[in-house]
Symmetry: C2
Subunit: 351 residues, 2 copies
């Protein structure tokens, strides 16, 4: 691994993640490397992301594209949360326009045999290579590595396809707690191995995506999900990289998601940042512009962007982002203008 | 209209909706008349609900089936929130397994011409007839009428199909506020006409479904949605029937949804009832068992049911329900057992 760029430690994203004032409010966008960019569509072609990421040159380039276009304060690895499960041969693919699809869903204890430990360097060496290539180009701009949180990955493996109700998952959680804990423990180890390898290869922050945790009641989350996510964050502590924890519709879970050991808690647009701040005292926040609002004319987007900044009131522990991923139909010019506006008008002198 | 049953005024559902102690904790289930019931599947057949509801005998029978099977404390009209829009010829159908689909979505001011006032007795006389037939059979059991809230109906008309992001809807809200207000005002009038006709025909409570309001930030909801819903509740006030206001993922909106003029605020499982109570002081609450949890073995369902009762702590202003609709794959025996448990163990002497 090459030595990190000397200015990386002062990167606004890394300072904000630690609650420290920075030269500007850092901004990046979930799914910034994606179909909204014409240069992405031109390079990427069709087919599963799980095939595309086997090509480190391609994946590094897709990782870098949005940094060049938008001037965002971080790159995020071009990858998917089901990569480790797919790499150990669990039988999962990502169908374009649908999401992760599992040929034989996880339903009984016998399926544990199909979840052997993930060895990043052996099972998916192309991921580390992508990180190294991207980091070389990025210089003083941080690369965010990521993994799926145990619950959200479990929900895909158990349901077999994207779900709105998580019936099989919730049944297993409640009816077979021993199997559930065993499954989540293995998925926690998988996330840990993946994240440690990404940090080793040069990622200077990580995000744990528990995208669908917001489907759970708080006491269920606390008892049956939080411990596995906390194990992931604890295992990353010694690396020293900031740890971001993200989910959608998590208003009632924000305090618990901070307690799980994150340095930064992601907030979707449903909870105003000033309200979120009261639920996650002492942590940095990430968010929280509604991605659908970005389809509106610029003056609307600008007003909603300013509203996020106003509610943050200059608190240094703020990473500007959308509340969820960039929509594929979005005009990238809008995001470029959001970046400029946040950089121009964002303050880090309050809080 | 026949005289209401003399015991109807003492119905537990109507007393709880007004915050008054009742003989038992009332319970009903959203989508209790539906595919989870074998007698429903046997009678209903395939095809659009919009065709089925043209037959009042059939629809009344489907309305009554769950009351007979479960002993719930209310029937809910077998209908759909897009019935009025369909009945005036807007061009909307309900595709089984998908939801409302609109052939020519509402996108510009010219589309206002396609939204003429809804005249229930002329446009959909079969709805009133269904209510009358069902109420005759129900005796002292209340019938809940319902309508779609202006925002949620607007989201279907604008998107053209069920959406997860509401991009077109949010763009119109923000970019064309005048058109948006005009649209919501017409949809409010449509809901008012529909609900008044249902009450006139014998419904003794109403529910306004703003199912997807939880996709909005609170300040956006307050400015661009709440006034139209408040107009609906205000127009129903003189009828004296309890008014229930429901949405999914509305943790941050509960206070505002109460402010809109409801007597009862529906809560999904994401917000524990004791927390919800602090956000909606002085109103009755409805909810909030997770429908997906009902797929688990009975001891799990029983424990989660008891948890709802425990958190309500005997407050008389509680109508037990799921946090969203019954899942089609659910074993109806489970719901029957939930009703029994709530009736046996629910208390109305606390609060």
């Amino acid at each position: 691994m090459a030595a990190p760029h000397p200015d990386l430690a002062d990167a606004p994203l890394l300072r904000a993640a630690r609650g420290l004032p920075a030269a500007r409010v850092p901004v990046w966008f979930m799914r910034q490397a994606g179909r909204s960019l014409p240069e992405y569509r031109a390079l990427r072609g069709e087919g599963s992301i799980l095939d595309a990421i086997h090509d480190p040159e391609l994946s590094a380039e897709l990782t870098l594209q949005p940094v060049r276009r938008y001037g965002v304060d971080a790159a995020v690895l071009y990858s998917d949360i089901v990569v480790p499960a797919a790499a150990i041969g669990f039988g999962v693919d990502v169908t374009p326009g649908v999401g992760p699809v599992v040929s034989a869903p996880f339903r009984t204890a016998a399926d544990l045999d199909r979840l052997r430990p993930y060895e990043p360097d052996v099972d998916a060496p192309y991921v580390g290579e992508t990180v190294r290539l991207a980091v070389q180009e990025l210089g003083a701009t941080p690369l965010i590595g990521f993994a799926g949180a145990p619950f959200t990955v479990a929900s895909y493996l158990i349901e077999g396809h994207p779900s709105r109700t998580y019936g099989h998952t919730k049944t297993m959680m409640h009816a077979e707690p021993k199997l559930w804990h065993e499954l989540l423990d293995r998925l926690a180890d998988m996330a840990i191995a993946s994240l440690l390898a990404q940090v080793e290869a040069g990622a200077s922050a990580i995000q744990l995506f528990d995208s669908w945790a917001g489907s759970l009641a708080p006491d269920v989350y606390e008892e049956l999900v939080l411990p596995a996510s906390a194990k992931v964050f604890a295992a990353l502590e010694a690396t020293g990289v900031p740890r971001i924890h993200f989910g959608v519709g998590t208003g009632e879970l924000l305090t618990l998601m901070g307690d799980a050991g994150a340095d930064v808690v992601g907030v979707d647009w449903r909870v105003p940042l000033d309200v979120a701040r009261t639920r996650v005292p002492g942590k940095a926040l990430q968010g929280n512009l509604d991605p659908a609002v970005c389809l509106a004319p610029w003056d609307v987007v600008a007003e909603r962007t300013r509203d996020v900044l106003r509610r943050n009131a200059g608190h240094p522990g703020h990473i500007f982002n959308l509340g969820h991923g960039v929509l594929p139909e979005l005009d990238p010019g809008v995001l470029a203008a959001v970046v400029d506006l946040v950089h121009e008008e964002g303050r880090t002198d309050g809080g």
